[in-house]
């Protein structure tokens, strides 16, 4: 039985430690800590366990995250300022601590054991521990989990989620975003700068702005971009290009309502070449004075038109299996 005594003796200091802080005070201690630091509590394994220990008359919201660059969690780093903002506005706004809610952040570096014991594979994860004793206690001791499946969240969205967890009659302090003076000042300066620049450079700029060729190019590029599905790339965030599984590159995505970024650019280029050939045939060729040069230009542009259109049709056949029309040579 000696080892048992030894164990008991070794446990004594911890008991003393636990006895020094009465459990009713945990909330106030941590809250004052949070108030003084003006942010969420920075936790490690030990303080996490201590904060979320079972008889608990307050609620805890803990963000489990991995901030260091070597973990490559961009979502964690993107969300961190929002989380700090939320914690700060909540703690500052909740003057009388009516919600009895604490905010904590547990980084993976400080809390490997916690991550293991919770069997977490991904970060960040937000846990909300309901109080286990007191008027707002919940029977279910398990924390409520918020998973960031929909990408980065704003402080307002998380605020909404947390507000649903705390009891309805408790006031929920609103998020106070600090005014971004830097942005306001820089935007104002930029606008004034542009106006000044325009006023100074007007004599040189106005002829450029009134240049018809410039506007024509601008309109044509816009039309070509939009009709080749650029907005689809932008909205769906499609990959630029993808492999074909055999080490090569597949330039064209399979399927009628699907495309790659490079694919739409190729298509835009094809449209551009076809349009340019049309314009040349219609406007430029009749203005060539030399008969032989004109003959050559007609054949050249007709050939370009035919080949390009044929290639476009062959690409389209690839996208739409049932399409039957074709032109030589492709």
């Amino acid at each position: 039985m000696r080892w048992f005594q030894l164990l008991a003796a070794s446990a004594l200091p911890f008991l003393a430690l636990a006895a020094k802080k009465p459990s009713g005070d945990r909330f106030n201690d941590n809250r004052s800590k949070a108030l003084s630091s003006g942010a969420a509590l920075k936790l490690d394994d030990q303080s996490y366990a201590q904060l979320t220990k079972a008889p608990r008359d307050y609620a805890v919201a803990v963000l489990l995250t991995a901030l260091e660059t070597r973990f490559g969690c961009t979502l964690c780093r993107e969300f961190q300022p929002e989380w700090e903002l939320l914690a700060k506005s909540w703690v500052k706004g909740d003057k009388n601590a009516q919600s009895r809610l604490l905010f904590g952040t547990l980084d993976f570096v400080d809390g490997k054991n916690t991550f293991q014991s919770l069997m977490l594979q991904t970060a960040p994860i937000l846990l909300y521990f309901h109080p286990t004793v007191g008027p707002n206690a919940k029977a279910d001791a398990q924390p409520v989990k918020f998973e960031f499946t929909q990408g980065p969240q704003t402080a307002e969205q998380i605020h909404q989620w947390i507000s649903r967890q705390v009891p309805a009659d408790v006031p929920k302090p609103a998020i106070s975003r600090p005014i971004n003076w830097l942005k306001i000042i820089s935007v104002t300066t930029a606008i004034l700068g542009v106006v000044t620049l325009f006023a100074v450079a007007a004599p040189y700029l106005v002829p450029v702005l009134q240049n018809r060729n410039l506007w024509a190019a601008f309109s044509l590029i816009a039309v070509l971009l939009f009709t080749s599905g650029h907005m689809f790339n932008h909205i769906r965030k499609v990959p630029y290009v993808s492999g074909d599984g055999k080490g090569g590159i597949s330039y064209f995505a399979g399927g009628f309502s699907n495309q790659f970024g490079l694919e739409s650019q190729i298509v835009a280029a094809m449209y551009g070449v076809l349009s340019f050939a049309t314009i040349s045939l219609a406007l430029k060729v009749p203005r060539i004075k030399d008969a032989r040069a004109q003959q050559f230009a007609v054949f050249l542009w007709s050939g370009v038109l035919l080949c390009m259109y044929s290639f476009l049709l062959s690409v389209f056949r690839m996208k739409n299996g049932g399409y039957t029309f074709w032109l030589p040579p492709f």
Binding site: T149, G229, I235, P286
Partner: protein, 751 residues
């Protein structure tokens, strides 16, 4: 083309009349082609209303014809959105119904008793003929070449981009709206060219008709001011512009406010503010122009210009302020999502869920426009050649509409007219150049121009396009003429083949009736929808409430004539989310919801047996998402995915999925069709669990021939006050679970 060839032969005195006659005949032929290419579905199937929304329009038209105009105007429909009802007369665009009603009464007056259904089915093809005519008029205003208009009309008549929304039976607002759109633009161009109040007022009249017909009128409301604004910025302000714009704006706004659904929106919502702003700007500019003519002092002119800019900035700021303070309604979600493309996905899942609102990939553009997609930029470029006021309009329209069509598949419809016009301009330029019989003499600069106006134009405008700097010479050799004309003919023929193929294969299915091919090649009609709707009509009480996903609301209302909970007029998101919650929750949760809404029957669409992919299980995630938007704690999208993030229906489906009402209703009894353990879902391509789901609160009432539609009856409350689970267990002979174990030891009763 025929007209241009005719030009060569008919230069004599009677030429003008003959050419006019030829043009009329060609236009009639084009209209005939436009109508007949839209009749595939009538010939293959029958004269039937298509899809979803047309069923509501059809029902409303019948109501109008039966009850007269005034009761239609005040129509409160208590058979939709049960128990809320819908103020239908005040929340629809009545133009379409009134048009068919007028045609119906006109034909009756002419003693032609035509069924209203046939009028509704054939309205869209009939109006497509008119659209071709309007396109001809619009294009003829743009360029001098007479063949461009005819080509544009032909393009417009058969292009799939327009046919997709105007086949026979597609009785939707777009059926007449595209004609009105093009015709309003024609009148506007006419007004700007002539500066006449008459044309401006006509523009306003047709604009008012357009407002009454389609929500897309906002496109006109913003495009015309933009045109005027760009003209002012280019320094092309003229009294013509002032007269046409102000007469259009004043009369058009009054006309649009007559529609109850629009009401005071033109002065209270952001979509209409650009029109108002440009109206104000025009007044200032007109005043300044007036003063400038009177006082020719240089400094004073500068002062006036500064004044214009200042007033413009101040009023713009005022507008922003009014929007922020809420006097003017901000952009409505549907329009706002056109600019901020991520907005709808986050905030309005119901808009994002509609397949018409998805962005457009490039194959869709080529599919709908074929060869015109690359003629279009060339045509826009040619507009920069002389860049008259009306050609500026083409450029603006082209850029804006291509953006909108890229963001939303549905708006391909607004792009199509301008594509037809611009490509016709480009194509007719080629044909006019190469079909010229005259050959210029070599080494001479002057003769052989096919169009003297162009030479004059390029001489007058020194800052012309790079490609038109040199004087026009003409085409020397017959070989080049033959090459280009031959290739053009081939391309045109290919275009016609493409259009016919697309129309026949993609856009002529009523989607109420499905067609499939039997192994021997003959056509087999799958008519499950109508079978089920007629079952409802004949076997249920007249006011039995049907719960289904909103897609089928209009069809149930139109074909089964039964009250529905939600329908395709998605005005109440919460009500739709309620249905979504009932579908995606456990039976114990859904049953009280259904009881509260007095639901008698539940209808689901299931394609697993046939491999019909547009079924409810594939739409299920949207129901979950929309329900989650309202009840984030009770419905969670995550729970419908396996831990590996897959959406599955087989053995590995999550418990939430397998207990949801939708899953149970879809697969109830399904494995009885197969040998034990062999049940196969042909859409998802997965094998189903050996044990099928059990239902306790609802019972199967009807399943259509191919299992596409399944209808369940909601059970009444149990006679003994038990819940349905235990009643079901009792009927099966299971022993009631003893709750007595916790009672403690038995004690002797002593009293």
């Amino acid at each position: 083309m025929a007209a241009t060839e005719g030009d060569q032969f008919l230069k004599q005195a009677t030429g003008r009349n003959t050419r006019g006659l030829l043009r009329v005949i060609i236009l009639c032929l084009i209209a005939g082609a436009a109508v007949s290419s839209r009749l595939f579905s009538v010939i293959r199937f029958e004269s039937i209303i298509h899809e979803f929304d047309p069923w509501f329009n059809f029902r409303a038209t019948k109501y109008l014809v039966q009850n007269g105009f005034y009761s239609f105007w005040d129509w409160f429909d208590d058979r939709t959105w049960h128990p809320l009802g819908r103020v239908t007369g005040g929340t629809l665009y009545p133009g379409l119904m009134v048009t068919s009603g007028v045609i119906y009464h006109l034909l009756r007056f002419l003693t032609l008793p035509v069924d209203i259904r046939n009028i509704c089915v054939l309205l869209a093809p009939a109006f497509s003929g008119l659209t071709a005519l309007a396109t001809y008029l619009l294009t003829s205003e743009m360029v001098t070449s007479p063949s461009a208009g005819l080509l544009a009309a032909a393009f417009m008549g058969i292009t799939p981009g327009y046919i997709s929304r105007s086949v026979a039976g597609s009785y939707d607002n777009e059926a007449i709206a595209i004609f009105l759109l093009v015709f309003t633009f024609f009148l506007w161009i006419k007004a700007v060219k002539n500066g006449s109040v008459f044309w401006g007022a006509l523009t306003a009249l047709f604009y008012g008709y357009m407002v009454s017909a389609w929500g897309g009128y906002v496109f006109i409301t913003n495009l015309l001011p933009l045109h005027a604004f760009v003209l002012i910025c280019m320094g092309r302000y003229s009294p013509r512009l002032y007269v046409s714009y102000t007469s259009w704006y004043a009369l058009g706004t009054l006309a649009s406010m007559q529609i109850p659904f629009v009401g005071f929106l033109p002065i209270r919502s952001s979509e209409h503010m650009s029109a108002l702003g440009v109206f104000g700007l025009l007044q200032i500019v007109a005043f300044v122009e007036f003063v400038r003519v009177q006082l020719p002092s240089k400094q004073f002119q500068t002062l006036l210009r500064a004044l214009v800019v200042l007033i413009f900035v101040v009023s713009f700021g005022g507008l922003v302020l009014l929007t922020v303070t809420g006097v003017i309604a901000p952009w409505t979600g549907r329009f706002y999502s056109l600019w901020d493309t991520g907005y709808a996905k986050i905030h309005i899942p119901i808009i994002a869920s509609v397949s018409e609102h998805q962005p457009t990939a490039w194959p869709a553009f080529f599919f709908d426009l074929s060869m015109m997609i690359w003629l279009f930029p060339a045509g826009v470029y040619m507009c920069f050649r002389s860049l008259t006021d009306e050609q500026v309009f083409i450029v603006i329209y082209a850029v804006l509409a291509s953006y909108f069509a890229g963001v939303m598949v549905r708006l391909m419809l607004t792009l199509t007219p301008i594509v037809c016009v611009a490509s016709a301009i480009a194509f007719s330029q080629i044909l006019d150049t190469y079909l010229d019989v005259k050959t210029p003499k070599a080494e001479s600069n002057e003769n052989g121009t096919s169009d003297p106006a162009k030479v004059a134009a390029s001489a007058i405008l020194p800052d012309s396009l790079r490609s038109t700097r040199n004087p026009l010479v003409g085409i020397y050799s017959y070989a080049s003429k033959l090459t280009v004309v031959g290739a053009s003919a081939v391309y045109l023929m290919l275009f016609v083949l493409h259009c016919t193929w697309v129309t026949s294969n993609a856009y002529s299915s009523p989607s109420v009736v499905l067609a499939s091919r039997l192994p021997d090649g003959s056509q087999h009609i799958i008519d499950d929808y109508r079978e089920a709707y007629y079952w409802l009509r004949q076997n249920t009480a007249d006011n039995a409430k049907i719960m289904s996903w909103w897609d089928y609301g209009y069809q149930i209302g139109g074909m089964a004539d039964r009250p529905t909970l939600v329908d395709n007029n998605t005005w109440n998101n919460t009500h739709i989310a309620t249905v979504g919650k009932a579908m995606s929750s456990r039976e114990e949760v859904s049953y009280p919801i259904m009881r509260q809404h007095e639901v008698d029957y539940v209808l689901v669409v299931f394609g697993g047996l046939l491999g019909y992919s547009g079924d409810d299980i594939n739409k299920f995630l949207w129901m979950v998402r929309i329900a989650e938007g309202i009840w984030p704690d009770e419905v969670k999208e995550r729970n419908f995915f396996t831990p590996r993030g897959e959406y599955r229906v087989d053995d590995e489906a999550t418990p939430t999925m397998r207990n949801s009402l939708m899953y149970k209703m879809s697969y109830y009894n399904y494995n009885s069709l197969f040998p034990a353990g062999q049940a196969q879902d042909r859409v998802r391509g997965s094998r189903l669990p050996a044990e099928g789901p059990q239902l306790s609160t609802i019972e199967e009432a009807f399943t259509s021939e191919n299992w596409i539609i399944r209808i369940y009856k909601v059970k009444d409350l149990d006679n003994f006050g038990r819940d349905h689970q235990s009643a079901g267990a009792f009927d099966k002979g299971h022993k009631k679970k003893r709750a007595s174990k916790r009672k403690g030891a038995r004690v002797l009763r002593v009293e």
